[in-house]
């Protein structure tokens, strides 16, 4: 029996960390006598953006977290957020293999799977967004808290992306220091931001970028039986966690609607235009990085 040490990019109480714990439990149950996973902790043991390095150095064997944290070394992570094809399909069409190759080359880690991908990101605002003549939104003059991966998209809508530390967001919204933010549906209530956010722009954009990676030597050192077990567990978990998060997102959507967050619904062509802008900024960024994987990733991850 081999024991793999694992870390997660999220504190263990949060929804995403619990999803990973679900995967760990699944492996530990199926893998008795073959392979086990030992959770070492979350951001309290390694800063999230240093965890991938800890895996490639072999200090821990496995990590779960957003691939875009490594976007400075792995521009290919844009294919995760800009992708539209689900994990089951990317296992079949070879997309996962392309990404695996890229992550091994750029980060020195082995990509096992990408659970929790069925996540949409939304723009939430404190004031009502202006509408354009063709039914779209015009966010000019709005300052939105953004992660680097949204910057270009927000700018294309006229908004000014600003960076605000997580801990300062609550007070910033309370005092109107900025006008809104981009965030997934899952977890928006964890920090009680929904108290100040009055509007949510629908449709949601992007896709989850969470991945489970292993140290390549640790992976190679596993018995074939253990490798198979992990691969199967990852594939199964991609489906199970996907369903779980889809359900959770629906629940949250209903909850925040009930709490008074109004939905700004974009329809038909305006919605398509909005989404095009979102997805295209990701692929554009990947293309500009000069990645040799661009064509293969675009083919296997994107089907809009």
């Amino acid at each position: 029996e081999t024991t793999l040490k694992a870390v997660s990019a999220f504190p263990s109480n949060l929804a995403f960390a619990q999803s990973f714990q679900g995967f760990v439990d699944l492996v530990n149950e199926r893998g008795k006598g073959v392979v086990q996973i030992q959770m070492m902790g979350g951001p309290e043991v390694f800063p999230p953006n240093q965890q991938i390095d800890a895996v490639s150095r072999g200090i821990v064997d496995m990590q779960y977290g957003p691939a875009t944290y490594s976007i400075g070394s792995l521009p290919e992570a844009y294919a995760f957020v800009g992708g539209t094809v689900d994990p089951v399909e990317t296992r079949k069409n070879g997309g996962l293999d392309v990404m695996r190759e890229a992550m091994l080359e750029k980060l020195g880690v082995y990509l096992l799977g990408r659970p929790d991908s069925d996540i949409r990101f939304y723009i939430y605002t404190t004031g009502e967004p202006k509408r354009t003549g063709d039914g779209g939104v015009d966010l000019s003059g709005m300052q939105l808290r953004a992660l680097p991966i949204y910057n270009k998209f927000f700018e294309s809508l006229g908004a000014v992306p600003i960076s605000v530390p997580v801990a300062d967001v609550y007070t910033g919204l309370e005092r109107n220091t900025f006008d809104g933010l981009g965030f997934p549906m899952i977890g928006i209530r964890d920090l009680s931001w929904d108290k100040f956010l009055k509007y949510r722009i629908d449709p949601g954009f992007f896709q989850g970028d969470l991945s489970i990676v292993l140290n390549p030597e640790a992976w190679e050192g596993l018995a074939p039986e253990a490798q198979e077990l992990l691969t199967q567990a990852a594939a199964d978990w991609e489906v199970q966690s996907g369903e779980h998060f889809t359900g959770l997102a629906k629940e949250t959507e209903a909850e925040i609607a009930k709490a008074g967050v109004e939905t700004v619904q974009l329809e038909g062509e305006a919605a398509e235009k909005f989404l095009d802008a979102a997805y295209e900024t990701s692929w554009q960024a990947l293309k500009e990085s000069g990645s040799p994987y661009y064509d293969r990733l675009r083919e296997t991850f994107y089907d809009r």
Partner: protein
């Protein structure tokens, strides 16, 4: 390695090296180095340690530390602080220990706007310490109130730490923030009482009451000429936050600007004074931030080695009633607080504490406030207490860490008493 052995190696190592006279930052770095080799393995472990360190202080939340220190140093070296305190002395001349009371009142007001205890203490310390010392206040009557009041910033809303605690523990953030108001005010009142008691026991601790009463006209003039213009500084720091123009983190920069502008108007912005202020700022902020850098990685190592998780799990293994559970948690928090930073403590303990809270039927809000207060204590407990280090940075040469700790003790006791009241009679303090 068992968790006890790991804890002994890491915690004991730091204490031993500090006692040997190794600078605090290097004591942490040395133990980090040994710990990285032992627990993470060889050179790779050391490399990881360094990688972790690159993320430790490149954080926007720490910006107010150097900026508030710069503001205080400028106030002091340009002589602006003296004018204000002279005026206040004139106006409040009949009250013994007036500046100590003002520290608590002013600090509490600022706590309703700033969410960072470290920034708050840095501001109060660098502004008040040098001048109060010159006026003949005893060190303990200066440092105790500054640290105590500075640390209230994380109890009274806004508080970044309460927001993170709420989200990690799944406690309603708004309710938790609101629940901090009453304990914060009670603490502040207790601090005022402690000062009163202090000067009653030891009248020498504060300069004497001014023998002649100053005519009202002169008081009004002093207020207008020397205190009122300081409104510009207060507006720059506090007003811009209230107006939503600047975040509490950013407002420190406007405080610096306002002091510089005022000094210019008063004709006190001499190069000599500015130079002294700049070097003083560098010295204090480097000694703080370099310790934060080293101790953040130390906390991570403590978590990775299993030492702290072992302690928490060990405590959770006892089957205790609600009161005893809260007491045991308090003990664990105090113990971890001696060595770890607040955020790491929260991430480490909450996954184990929260189910226990649920099982015992303890009100999560009650627990949340107790946890916040316990974390507040950790800022001032040796050997690793950031507020102690802030104070040492601005205190006159030769001030020892024990002097600072002794000065804080009565105020720490207030917090401890409040926690005990919260454990047994939460209804007195949490109003829902």
């Amino acid at each position: 390695m068992s968790w006890q052995a790991a804890a002994l190696l890491l915690g004991g190592g730091v204490i031993f090296l500090m006692a040997l006279g190794t600078p605090v930052v290097i004591a942490f770095l040395t133990v980090n180095l040994i710990g990285a080799v032992v627990f993470m393995g060889g050179l790779g472990g050391i490399d990881q340690l360094i990688a972790n360190a690159t993320s430790s202080i490149t954080s926007f939340a720490l910006v107010p530390v150097p900026l508030f220190i710069l503001m205080g140093e400028l106030l002091f070296h340009t002589g602006m602080a003296v004018r204000v305190f002279d005026a206040l002395d004139k106006i409040l001349g009949a009250i013994r220990a007036r500046l100590a009371y003002l520290t608590v009142i002013g600090g509490t007001i600022f706590a309703t706007l700033s969410g960072s205890s470290i920034a708050n203490t840095a501001m109060l310390g660098s502004t008040l310490m040098p001048d109060m010392e010159k006026r003949g206040y005893s060190k303990s009557l200066i440092m105790g109130p500054i640290i105590a009041t500075g640390s209230i910033a994380m109890i009274i809303p806004p508080s970044s730490l309460a927001v993170l605690l709420g989200s990690l523990a799944k406690i309603d953030v708004g309710a938790l923030l609101l629940a901090g108001v009453v304990p914060g005010i009670i603490l502040s009142l207790m601090y005022l009482a402690v000062i009163r008691l202090h000067v009653w026991i030891d009248p020498e601790a504060a300069p004497p009451v001014s023998p002649v009463s100053v005519p009202t006209r002169e008081k009004a003039l002093a207020l207008l000429r020397d205190v009122a213009p300081m409104g510009l500084v207060i507006f720059a720091v506090i007003g811009l936050i209230i107006l939503g123009v600047a975040s509490p983190t950013e407002s420190a920069a406007f405080g610096v600007l306002a002091v510089a502008v005022l000094a210019l108007i008063y004709g006190k912005l001499r190069w000599k004074a500015v130079e002294k202020a700049l070097w003083g700022t560098l010295s204090v902020s480097v000694m703080m931030l370099v310790i934060i850098l080293a101790s953040a990685t130390f906390s991570q190592l403590l978590a990775f080695s299993g030492a702290s998780a072992g302690l928490v799990a060990w405590m959770a293994g006892f089957e205790l009633g609600p009161h005893a559970t809260l007491l045991a948690m308090l003990a664990v928090l105090i113990l971890l607080g001696m060595f770890m930073d607040q955020l790491s403590i929260m991430m480490l303990t909450l996954p184990i504490f929260m189910p226990l809270i649920g099982m015992q039927g303890i009100d999560p809000l009650q627990f949340g406030i107790i946890m916040l207060l316990a974390l507040e204590l950790s800022l001032a407990t040796p050997p690793f207490g950031l507020l102690l280090f802030v104070m040492l940075g601005v205190a006159p040469k030769g001030t020892s860490i024990w002097e600072v700790v002794r000065a804080c003790l009565p105020y720490l006791a207030c917090t401890l008493i409040l926690i005990l009241v919260l454990i047994w009679l939460p209804g007195l303090i949490i109003w829902q």
